[in-house]
Symmetry: C2
Subunit: 236 residues, 2 copies
DNA sequence: TGATCTTTTGTACGATAGTACAAATCACAT
DNA sequence: ATGTGATTTGTACTATCGTACAAAAGATCA
């Protein structure tokens, strides 16, 4: 016997609402927020423009709901992976595990919530580039905790490294991560087909190894910048 | 005696045209292309909306002209710095010089063409995130040569490293570079004020050192992925 | 000064944007 | 079967978009 929902439960037909969310996510992530109209989204979802207003009130509300849907699961997954990574004994291995815990969830593919990490991360990249006000707040609120936890974990593996350097390097990591999802074709193009920028596994491996090495670089004491080598030397 | 221009020369009053270009560059770089209207630009430049149409025909034409203005000088400067860097004898030092030659011109500040590297680079970052068609072509045409020259120079300093790895890591470099210009405040926030994300000198030093270390990481043979360490280990 | 060309201004047009809202339709409990 | 609340549809309103274009203003030279 199938349970009969009490009619106040979520929705009778969750299909359309989900379809709109999925279509909006895809379109926003590839074209930016302002370039996509509500009518574009409705058409891609096979819905009526009025349906979008009904479910999400405004275009900003739709964007906000996409974030609400993803932030929880993704941060949860990262927390789990990070906790597991911190239990690795060897410091070198732990560093790699921590970085991987940060990177891997951002590359997961698929259409469901747990699997759509790549699309959502790309959306975040595009929104941060556009300087979107709506998402900047939610990002700072939701992701700064995760970032701090990640930074702390790195600091555990590299106790000698000043926190400042860790912040900079993890910032570079996020930038590289974003860009890999935004413009993967550039990798294929520059490598003349030898590498596939759209291959998530390759991207993860490359990004993890490069980032681990970057974190392991010696500290930059800003107090005494030892040898500031000029780029243009008159001779030699 | 001041030379009298023959009236067909450039323009009588270059001020307004330049003001529009500068205002558009600033607004596009901070808000994205689609979020900024021609009227916004005109108002910021103290001009009439019709003036934008007169000078640049269309909004796309205005964007294109911004790129035309900057691509030449920036690539020229990079070529000079790269040529100087390649003359450095010590391989380790040369690698750092090459990376610095790539990074430094992207951070120059100022309002003129030679100094506005940071604003223009930020614009490129935003445009690539928005997936803008107009700029994608001109970027691929204009910057791929520079990228290849840069990759070749890296390859000279690190002959053992497969080209594939160099492409990936230089891709990460560009992503980190973009992101540092797009969201500098995040660095200040995450470091709780200890670091200043808006300080170009710090950003350059941090980025160069981290990137050099990343390039120096051992090669990733994709043929035989040696020890693929799982992130989640059941125990230890 | 008057003729001519360049630049700026003011305004208007058609297209499309986000959103509101009433009517139609659907799902389901009674 | 029918009433009821949830959802979808169709449409319309207002604002703003990019762009066009004629008129005004400014500059240059005979």
């Amino acid at each position: 016997m199938v349970r009969k929902p009490t009619s106040k439960e979520t929705a009778r037909k969750p299909n359309m609402r989900e379809a709109i969310l999925a279509a909006a996510e895809e379109l926003f992530a590839t074209n930016g927020f302002n370039a996509v109209s509500v009518r574009d989204i409705a058409q891609a979802a096979g819905a009526n423009p009025g349906s979008v207003t009904y479910h999400f009130k405004t275009k900003d509300g739709l964007l906000l709901e996409i974030y609400r849907r993803h932030c929880g699961p993704m941060n949860l997954r990262r927390s789990e992976l990070l906790a597991a990574a911190r239990r690795v004994r060897d410091l070198q291995d732990r560093l790699e595990a921590v970085v991987r815990a940060y990177v891997a969830p951002a590359f997961t593919s698929g259409s469901d919530l747990a699997g759509g990490g790549a699309r959502f991360t790309r959306l975040r990249a595009v929104m941060s580039a556009e300087g979107n006000e709506v998402t900047r707040k939610i990002i700072a609120q939701t992701f700064d905790d995760t970032s701090h936890a990640f930074i702390d974990a790195i600091h555990d593996s590299l106790p000698h490294l000043p926190r400042t350097d860790i912040v900079w390097r993890s910032h570079f990591l996020l930038g590289a991560l974003y860009y890999s999802l935004v413009t993967p074709d550039r990798v294929s193009r520059l490598s003349r087909g030898e590498a596939d920028g759209n291959d998530a596994a390759s991207a993860i491996e490359q990004l993890v190894q490069a980032t681990v090495a970057a974190f392991q670089a010696p500290a930059l004491d800003q107090a005494a910048p030892a040898r500031r080598r000029p780029v243009v030397s008159s001779k030699t």
